[in-house]
Amino acid sequence: MAMAQEPLMATDIEAYLRAHEHKRLLRFITCGSVDDGKSTLIGRLLYESHLVFDDHLAALEEDSRQVGTQGGDLDFALLVDGLAAEREQGITIDVAYRFFATEKKKFIVADTPGHEQYTRNMVTGASTADAAVILIDARKGVLTQTRRHSFLVSLLGIEHVVVAVNKLDLVGYSQQVFDAIEAEYRAFAGEIGLSDITCIPLSALRGINVIEASPDTPWYHGPTLLAHLEAIDVEDRPGRTPFRMPVQWVNRPDLDFRGFSGLIVGGSVRPGDSVRALPSGRTSTVSRLSTFDGDLDMAVAGQSVTVVLDDEIDVSRGDVLCSDDQPAEIADQFEAHLVWMDDHEMLPGRPYLIKLGTSLVGATFSQPKYKVNVNTMEHLAARTLELNEIGVCTVSTDRMVPFDPYVSNRDTGGFVIIDRMTNATVGAGMLHFSLRRSQNVHWQALEVDLAARNTMMGHGSGVVWFTGISGAGKSTIANRTEQLLHAHGVHTYLLDGDNVRHGLNRDLGFTELDRIENIRRVAEVARLMADAGLVVLVSFISPFRAERRLARELAGEGRFCEVHVDTSLEDAETRDRKGLYRKARRGELANFTGIDSPYEAPAAPELHIETNACTPEQAAEELLLQLRRMGMVS
């Protein structure tokens, strides 16, 4: 309660609550390393705003005595640290969020610990911040890390920057030192596009200019840190951004109500406004803004609402409702900054998913035009982006998406990158502009042929035919291969002998005629699917050369990859997972390949796999290489 002298809370609680209900919210990020006194600064803000309870304080006193660095005085840094221990336990900490409030504002502080992973952490913390507090040690001045922090702040579009020149007590509260740092910082910040900058001389440890103006810096006439944070205006001035609402959910409780629920991320909207749904481009008029608390006359950025339109236009999740006269752009090719956040490097051309607003689309990235050295802001040549690297790439999406440049709207211009296999978030991006303006593109009436389908799929197509005796491992290898292809974004389908016999070929038995008909049907189905653009994996014993030749001819030369999964009869019989060999040996299965029916091994298969010489994984990798050679997969 050191700062918050609030008799109102004790004397008239209702008046206090009324006053506090109208508080605004400011989210800010603190940038600096442990040595800059960042934890001390945050700890002090929490302490001074009465967010430290007695039991915590008792623990703090105890900790300060035991491990504190302040000679028995309260070590505020201990209030927010504890992250080091967690790091030792292997817990990934990207950002820690702290909360405090004054009479005017509630604050959410994003604190990003550590040096390693700094880019990833700071970008995450900065993405939701309205303001940034950049700490500079007065003894050290503007350092490389100061430049790095400032560049990231600028990249993430944070408008308000506070430069806290800390540890001023250690340079004798020197105005000269402060002025020199401020001049140097402003010169540099101008180059990277930061404009709203406030420099404050302070000492977090001594509480100088944090909450109260200090007599130790009589030459400083600006606000204290807290007063400045309270005064920062993050209002969305009317008309500054046009109306945007990514549709999250179509609300349809019954036939009489159909609304589109979402968070407004730009501008405002009123009943009667004309809106356009993108990417379809259809327009309609807002009839109601429905909420639990009744219909609204107007809703603004930051509110979650349900919009009801006059007519039944088709709108679904992922669409963006926009103001009709200032709609978002739509495109499928963009230039963007990417920040890579995964241990596995970015692979140009590999299909990823991106989530932009509420829409999830497939996307590929080009080789970077350049990457940025975050310390010097130099542009460097790059073939890929590794963990914590930032670069500029072309993004191609698999369909048209509505967007705004990131500088105009963070919510409709920022996206996260998702790995298709692991579903992990592997990066983030900020869209700058479209490279192909959709407005200028008139679609040609294409004849939809195989080439057109392959273009849309992003890969070739064909039939991969696994042959081998029962128990050789065909299905295992086919499954592995399919997983691997899927991970590379290849559209596949697996036709398995056993499964097809349950459906399409249910009427067939095991006579020679039936077996040939069995193969013929499967080969036809595989050809149709390959024509549709898929890479079709067929796993069939298919013991006879003639049948396999039939399948090859149907698919067309160059689009048929025969894979002989080769194992000795002895091995297969020893494994005999399905118990079929035992049955056949007992005479309970007639015409069993290898026992009383021949297996004709391929003479020149595209790939010959000996199953006791490699693992299924190795076999799948080998096959992938073969498919690349054949051009079925890029």
């Binding site: 004790a10 508080k23 309205d130 609300n251 930051g302």
Partner: protein, 300 residues
């Protein structure tokens, strides 16, 4: 970025956004409803998020049979008011063994009824996303928590698998068998919760307000004698004016002496309070870092 909205309006909109994103990208979401004040706020936000539809998911109460009677009454009332389906799960193993905090201790009691019970219920119903009312301000170690937390098919929380969360763009995708715990109140503080309950007039269990209640003192903590199952060991319950800052199993929940019989009175006491909210929870006394351990084991 935002115009003219108060901090509560912004928090409300953010929570609604989180609730909707989860529902839009889940097959089988559920709301873990613990009947406390945070659950009350979360349920209220869900009703707002999907209005005029009923929230498209059930409420799940992982019951221990040791909650306060007043909590069970509130549970039934809120399920009826909201029109949502209420699922109650009691770990059958605990029912069979008669697990209770007196004979088995708080650690075993909590682990078996709550941690194991929760896993059973999630597996039984096949839920792939579960909303919980945890807040980041509850304790130091929660400050770093994600809003969307991925759990393995065994419900374990793998610290290395957690995803960075940027902007308001949440990656809600899961692999086969994985599920997600979602915390829509992550950015709310205790004061925000109280202030919102006051503004929105959200019904809360009367135990949060002071009233004369029969209590006994155990290890310096006031425990309310809520039913005859409480062994008294010769102690005589005294009527004292008390209230509860958090609600759980009555034998494990400490009361505070108070005369605040109104919501505003409670908020006032809280503002002037000098001890943190979690101190009344006996569960935390198990030792530092115990929350972290419980979470890895699958506790909320």
């Amino acid at each position: 970025m935002t115009s003219g909205l108060t901090h509560l309006q912004r928090l409300e909109a953010e929570s609604i956004h989180i609730l909707r994103e989860t529902v839009a990208e889940s097959d089988r979401p559920v709301m873990l409803y613990s009947i406390g004040k945070d659950s009350a706020v979360m349920l209220h936000l869900a009703r707002k998020a999907f209005h005029p539809s009923t929230p498209p998911f059930p409420l799940l109460h992982v019951d221990t049979t040791w909650k306060f009677q007043a909590m069970y009454e509130m549970r039934e009332k809120m399920a009826a008011d909201s029109g949502m389906e209420l699922l109650v799960h009691q770990n059958p193993e605990c029912v069979r063994l008669g697990i209770n905090p007196f004979d088995h201790g708080s650690a075993v009691h909590t682990d078996m009824w709550k941690t194991q019970g929760l896993k059973q219920a999630l597996d039984h119903y096949g839920f792939d996303a579960a909303f919980g009312g945890a807040r980041r301000d509850e304790e130091k170690s929660r400050a770093k928590e994600r809003i969307f937390s991925i759990r393995s098919p065994q419900h374990r929380w793998d610290p290395k698998q957690q995803r960075p969360e940027l902007w308001r763009t949440y990656n809600v995708r899961r692999n086969q068998g994985e599920s997600m715990r979602v915390f829509p109140l992550s950015n709310w503080t205790e004061l925000d919760v109280w202030q919102y309950i006051y503004r929105e007039q959200i019904p809360i269990v009367p135990l949060y307000l002071a009233a004369p209640r029969p209590v006994v003192e155990r290890d310096g903590v006031l425990i309310m004698v809520d039913d005859h199952r409480m062994p008294l060991h010769g102690q005589t319950p005294e009527l004292r004016s008390v209230r509860f800052r958090t609600l759980g199993c009555y034998p494990l929940t400490g009361a505070v002496e108070s005369t605040a019989t109104s919501l505003t009175g409670v908020i006032q006491e809280m503002l002037l309070a000098t001890t943190s909210e979690r101190e009344g929870r006996v569960i935390d006394f198990d030792g530092a870092g115990s929350m972290e351990k419980k979470k890895q084991e699958g506790y909320f």
